[in-house]
Amino acid sequence: MFEMMQRIRELSVQSLVYLAALLVSAIFIWILSDLVRGGIAHLSWEFLTESPRDAGRAGGIASILVSTILILLVALVTAIPLAWATAVLLAEFIPITSLFGKVVRFSLYVLAGVPSIVFGLFGNAFFSIYLGLGFSILSGGLTLACMLLPILTATAEAGLRAVPDNYRLSSAALGMTRTAALIHLIVPAAAPALVAGLLIGIGRALAETAALLFTSGYVDRMPGSLLDSGRALALHIFDLSMNVPGGDAPAFAAALILVSLLLCINILAMKLAYDLQRRKMMI
């Protein structure tokens, strides 16, 4: 009797879980297939190499891709040194209990939760208007940099902390300075984690729309300098679908490209994580 009930319980739980997984997969496959169906016809080599014409209905997304990459570069070049310096300090040099560490960690923790639209507000007020950068790739990139800070710091700190303590102890026991240990042992050992975090950050930046709405602007032309306005890919999709009659097909195609880009990044990150695991197994 009891065993019977237990079997029934096991079975029903199992079917519920399978059902949920099936449902989730089905919906996501539905979305993906919609994207592919809507966009595949519009995809071509020209779509990648031409700049948009007729508000994006015709032409391609070359200038959009260039702007996107420029925004990304600005963001990374600004965020990486700050984030990794912070992470190294937090993970290697100050005890968990230090007040300074707590303050930095807390402020990054809050920063991580700030909605992207609020970053957009801030970027507009601070970079575009207060610093006078206007609607430009520079303001957009700097706004994104603020957004990436907590992600990059957190992943890097976790990566550094995951480096086995015995590297630190044995290098110290050999009379090496901490700087030397950091440069020769710890950072190389954490490198896959750092890069994986970087890829996550890039993925996040590529997907971002709301923060760029009021900072990097809408201009869909090939940017001539960092002070030009440039439209990011995600924003292009938004604009095509919301503001351009007849923009659906290119929007689908652009979405398809964006998703494929993110997929590549995802696969790369996964491969890194895999290598990391293998390396761990060897230790």
Partner: protein, 248 residues
């Protein structure tokens, strides 16, 4: 190299963007940035000197006559419904009643017995201001069911909903109808919403598309405005379903 910055109406921006592209190809070394953000932003930016030229999709108001306006094209606002709707024409009062929630069902105006879905635009848009002017209403009196930001969203919303009524630029609407979108432009007080009727001035809900400047235009600014008003760009205006102004 020289640079011009234009900001303002999202209705005008795509058109001016195309004009700018052609202008640049004729004058190498000139760079023209076109930003959208709405008519009021165009006015604001020009006043603050952030932009050289503002794009405004309506007549200048009383308190704005410190600015210089140059009409480059005409546009009308049409009310639109789904193509399956039996309605072809509405009067000004019927529209006002629908938008204020006094008429809630299509049956009242001769349609099916279904609830009306009123599609309105977000605060600050010039199409909204124009419609409010025409209906003599305040935005707070309108009881919308959906609020949208820009034109295409309005078309999508109405095309996807048999019982919706919305409004948008006639140019955009006609373009979509040609492309096969299931929407219909409603006649207003019996006057058909069409480019022709805007052209001849009989359609009540029409507006000029203006470029505005803070001072008498000089140099490159003047060159560009002249270019935008010249017949060299009529094909662009027509391809966007706006109405060139040179007729008279």
């Amino acid at each position: 190299s020289q640079r011009l910055i234009l900001t303002g109406s999202s209705t005008v921006a795509p058109l001016v963007g195309e004009m700018a592209r052609r202008f640049e190809s004729q004058f190498p070394g000139v760079r023209i940035d076109v930003q959208t953000g709405g008519s009021s932003r165009g006015i604001n930016d020009v006043r603050k000197g952030i932009a050289d030229i503002g794009m405004v999709s309506r007549q200048l108001k009383q308190n704005e006559n410190d600015l210089y306006a140059f009409t480059i094209a005409l546009d009308g606002i049409s009310l639109i419904v789904h193509a399956d709707s039996p309605i072809v024409s509405l009067s000004k009062t019927q529209i006002a009643d629908m938008f204020t929630g006094q008429i809630t069902h299509w049956s009242v105006v001769g349609g099916t017995d279904a609830r009306i879905t009123v599609v309105n635009k977000a605060e600050g848009r010039s199409t909204l201001e124009l419609l409010l002017d025409y209906l003599e209403l305040k935005n707070s009196e309108i009881k919308p069911h959906i609020i949208i930001g820009d034109n295409a969203q309005g078309i999508k919303t109405v095309a996807g909903n048999r019982n919706a009524i919305g409004y948008l630029s006639i140019g955009a609407a006609e373009y979509e109808v040609k492309r096969g979108a299931p929407i219909r432009l409603l006649a207003l007080d019996g006057v058909q919403a069409s480019v022709k009727n805007i052209h001849n001035g009989s359609f009540p809900l029409s507006r000029p598309l203006n470029l505005v400047t803070a001072s008498e235009p000089q140099g490159l600014i003047r060159q560009f405005i002249a270019f935008a008003q010249s017949s060299q760009v009529h094909d662009l205006i027509k391809s966007q379903y706006f109405v060139p102004v040179d007729a008279d």
